[in-house]
């Protein structure tokens, strides 16, 4: 058999050179970069413009603490070394809490999803309760943790676990269940055992969905760390405790800095899992490919 004629043959030019003239339709590297980053940059400028407009046009100087202008936030929150150190220390603690919670959620969530994927009766037994856990407002459950586990770091971590758990369970289970029947038949034909099927077929096939869940859960775990701070104030302060403190002292520049910093951390975590997804499954799955590369 010969493959060379196949590449550019009627069977699809997947490995063939790009069509002539295609460069006129596909933007060049710089154009592509601009078309990718341009729109969000314009939105950022618009938001900053609105922010300034509200600060200076709608709010009187006495009420400007409700929304201090961006440069004031930058100056007080990020350019003052004392404030910055305080914020970064709190963020580091919240990051550790969020990552500890996320790690525990990953282990528990994936274990539950794998168990549910192996037998329908396990899924029928557990999944409704996972959904109920997800639908109970987190703020209603959090105070209970204080009674049971104290008002320190343990409870903060548990809030992160609780808030990050469901997307991992749901997406991993979806991924494990999404294997095509023909692939299952192939493994059945060759007497593959349950573990072999899980390890060589279901888990790799589930990876794109697992990463989708991880990205969502990572963002949620950051929120969980901040929510936990509001309820459990024993021990070192996290970024949530600082936000509450600045709020009570009307230090709005610092408060906005803390909010921006925690958002940036959430974005960083989301981006990290996106990057990891591209490294792990980007070579074979469309969902994890870099959207800037056409």
């Amino acid at each position: 058999m010969s493959a060379d004629t196949e590449i550019s043959g009627p069977d699809g030019p997947t490995l063939a050179a790009p069509l002539q003239g295609a460069s006129r339709l596909v933007p060049s590297g710089r154009g592509r970069w601009l078309s990718f980053w341009g729109p969000p940059f314009v939105v950022l400028l618009t938001v900053l413009g609105l922010w300034y407009a509200i600060s200076y046009l709608l709010l009187s100087p006495q009420r400007r603490f409700l929304l201090p202008p961006p440069h004031a936030v930058l100056q007080v929150g990020f350019l003052d070394p004392f404030n910055l150190r305080e914020l970064l220390q709190a963020l580091w603690l919240s990051a550790r809490v969020a990552m500890a919670g996320l790690s525990i959620a990953i282990v528990i969530g994936m274990a539950l999803a794998i168990a549910m994927s192996q037998a329908r009766w396990v899924e029928r037994s557990l999944f409704p309760y996972a959904v109920i856990l997800q639908t109970i407002p987190i703020l209603a459950l959090v105070p209970l943790f204080g009674f049971w586990f104290g008002f320190g770091l343990t409870s903060r971590v548990l809030v992160c676990v609780l808030i990050a758990l469901f997307p991992i369970i749901a997406d991993t289970l979806f991924g494990l269940r999404s294997v095509e029947q023909d692939h299952h038949d192939l493994f059945t034909l060759h007497d593959a055992g349950r573990l072999t099927r899980l390890w060589k077929l279901q888990l790799p096939a589930a990876l794109p969905a697992v990463f989708t869940g991880l990205r969502v859960s990572a963002g949620l775990s950051v929120i969980g760390a901040i929510v936990g701070d509001f309820f459990f104030k024993q021990g070192e302060p996290g970024i949530g405790i600082l936000i509450d403190l600045y709020r009570s002292r009307l230090q709005s520049e610092q408060m906005f800095s803390a909010i921006i910093l925690s958002s940036l951390f959430g974005v960083l975590v989301f981006w990290f899992f996106g990057f990891l997804a591209r490294r792990v499954v980007g070579g074979w799955h469309q969902s994890a490919r870099d959207p800037t590369v056409s």
Partner: protein
């Protein structure tokens, strides 16, 4: 006459929802024989293969396969997208527990046979539909099967690629001489690749006709334009369209071949 490798003895299949897919199918495939099964959509062709492979049980009758070295080529290539061509081709021997060196040797040999040595380290998404199907074929070849079951393997491909792969499949068959049961909905394809063409009726599938194909292997691509070929394809097609049992050849001697 060679011994049958695969025998369907009055096989019927009724699914749980009450659909009767097959009703009393008698068919045998002799060792080294290439038999095609054609029939309208939904007549139970694929069910026949699933029964032969053991993926599905029978409701009535019996199936006897005299080998457990069975290669199954699905309509979809069923490649694992996260594995390279090499790793995909090694999959079945890996599941069979063969040592790594032997797996590698067999995979290399099979990849070379299907002409994809230059693409061994590519992932399936970088390949065309025809190339993916070759990888699927190579994967089955690593098991050195005595019986090949083909479930409309080229059904999703365009006509030119399909004809090219038919030619290449016949080259493989000529050199390897496996036994094959080939399901297709294309009469031309069935007549071109096989030694016997079995026609199934509309659901529930029953054998309507069994046509020996009197052309020697290797078969040149130009055979498709031969008058005798066209005549036979016309007969098979008429049987398929007529939906009535083909009286003269409905029950030929089992395993009869003309080469």
């Amino acid at each position: 006459m060679a011994k049958p490798v695969l025998t369907f003895d009055h096989v019927s299949k009724r699914f749980d929802d009450g659909t009767v897919a097959l009703a009393g199918v008698d068919l045998s495939v002799a060792s080294g024989e290439f038999v095609s099964v054609v029939g309208p959509s939904g007549c139970g062709k694929s069910t026949l293969l699933r029964i032969a492979s053991g993926l599905t049980g029978v409701s009535d009758g019996a199936v006897l396969a005299r080998t457990d070295k069975i290669g199954y080529v699905f309509q979809d290539p069923t490649l694992l997208p996260w594995r390279t061509v090499q790793a995909n081709v090694e999959l079945l021997t890996e599941l069979g527990g063969l040592p790594k060196a032997e797996r590698r040797r067999r995979a290399n040999e099979a990849i070379k046979l299907v002409g994809l040595s230059d693409f061994a380290h590519h992932r399936p998404r970088a390949l065309s539909g025809g190339m993916r199907m070759r990888v699927s074929l190579a994967r089955s070849l690593t098991l050195q099967p005595e019986l090949f079951l083909f479930d409309e393997p080229f059904g999703a491909l365009d006509e030119i690629t399909r004809e090219r792969l038919n030619d290449e499949l016949l080259q493989l068959y000529t050199t390897q001489r496996f036994t094959a049961l080939f399901v297709t909905h294309s009469v031309t394809e069935a007549v071109f690749v096989s030694e016997r063409v079995v026609v199934l009726s509309r659901r529930p599938g029953q054998v309507l006709g069994d046509f020996p194909v009197p052309f020697e292997y290797p078969r040149p691509p130009g055979l498709r334009f031969d008058e005798g070929f066209a005549h036979l394809a016309g007969e098979v097609s008429a049987c398929l369209r007529g939906g009535r049992r083909h009286a003269s050849q409905a029950s030929p001697p089992r395993g009869s071949t003309r080469r």
